[in-house]
């Protein structure tokens, strides 16, 4: 449900870059690389802190609309693709609300500064 790479994958690439020696880079590249390493770690940390609990209400709503299991998001995407949610309806409203909630949760982990810039503080 979350975007990829996962938190652990981001931690891994951050460790790889630290191990291969960011310190040896020219100052400007080093500053950029250090900032990216920190960002990878911060996303991983926020994702870990939020855990599965932060996604539970979204998963519950997805299951209510598309059934239990891992294929809910695929079914939702297919329903949009097939034009089943083109017209205004209560179901379309629920789906849009679900997508908004999921997007905000993902942003609260990957880019909380973006949310703050849009007047949205802590989401989870």
């Amino acid at each position: 449900m979350r975007d990829l790479p996962t938190g652990p994958q981001l931690e891994q690439i951050a460790r790889e870059w630290e191990a291969k020696g960011i310190a040896g880079l020219p100052p400007k590249e080093r500053a950029v690389a250090e900032a990216m390493v920190e960002r990878c770690k911060a996303i991983a940390r926020r994702e870990s802190d939020a855990g599965e609990g932060a996604l539970a209400p979204i998963r519950a709503e997805l299951a209510a609309l598309y059934g239990e299991g891992e294929a809910g998001l695929e079914r939702l995407a297919a329903e949009i693709r097939d034009g089943m949610l083109d017209a205004p309806s209560a179901r379309r409203g629920r789906v849009l609300a679900l997508l908004r909630a999921l997007t905000l949760q993902k942003l609260s982990e990957s880019n909380p500064r973006f949310l703050r810039a849009h007047g949205l503080g802590c989401v989870s």
Binding site: D3, L4, P5, L73, A77, I80, R81, L96, L107, N111
Partner: protein, 341 residues
Amino acid sequence: MLATESRIAALERYLARAGGAREVTISGWRRLSGGAVQECWAFEVELRGGALEGCSTLVLRTDAATALIASRSRAEEFALLHAAFAARVRVPEPLFCSEGGEGVGRAFFLMRWVDGIADGATLVRSADWETRRPNLLSELGRELAKIHAMPVDAGLGFLGEPPADPAAHRIQRYRTWLRRFDDPHPVAELALRWLERNRPPPIPAVLCHGDFRTGNYLANEDGIAAILDWEFADWGDPHEDIGWFCSKSWRFGAYEREAGGLGAREAFYRAYMAAGGRAIDPKRVRYWELAASLRWLLLALQQRDRFLRGGERSLDLALTGRRPAECEFEILRLIDAEEGA
């Protein structure tokens, strides 16, 4: 990529042959920052004899290890740069192109170095640039009008015929891109459906830059020094370039300055139209702004896959994989705004 002495020696031999020089000496070989898709390297060169005799700084642009689906070849990008230079668009002067990648190992082209700053965050946020931003915006409007008026001659035959319906053509392309991903992306599907159902009436396609945005031009104390990165140029609705330029993704955090993080979109529109660009339809720009968010979402997923599947252990590519949510936020907001309007 390279930087080994043998490869620099091979490039010296290539330059001697291409430039008709008796002797060539390269020094100061360095990689330029930025360029997640292509790689750029700068170096000083001294040529003795030939048309380029003397000392100059050149830039070599070559493919990265893996490319994005929509990226043009270096030979095509070189041809586009050549056409832009001939049309007096501010671009680096293109010099030579090697499709075989002689000595370098990958196709490349060479162009003259242009002084300036490309870093979007600096141009948009630094107080040093505050008083210069209005001028940059006007100059960019004029440059874009020149690009959209560029003649497309036989040298750009690879572009094919212009599509009768640029929006339908683009939607088809994005649909194809979206199908390539294994994982579901419902907000991207939503954007595609919206773009299909709200397609504007077709207007004649022009040559679009395809990546006209803050971060892809060089600016210096004199103003706009060069428009860079022509790898996505293609036929399109001229509003597509304008929507991309105004897209929130390319304002570098200065969200209130809607035209590229530099200033008000009306000032940009005025400069574009005063320079001969066609009349801008703000509703059509909003359509292409939504398309821009979808496009950046899909490109970010392609970048992600270069990390996840292409074996490129890049921090930048990994982090780009977590950026689609920003596009999703904007897509949902724009659809809300359009449907509530």
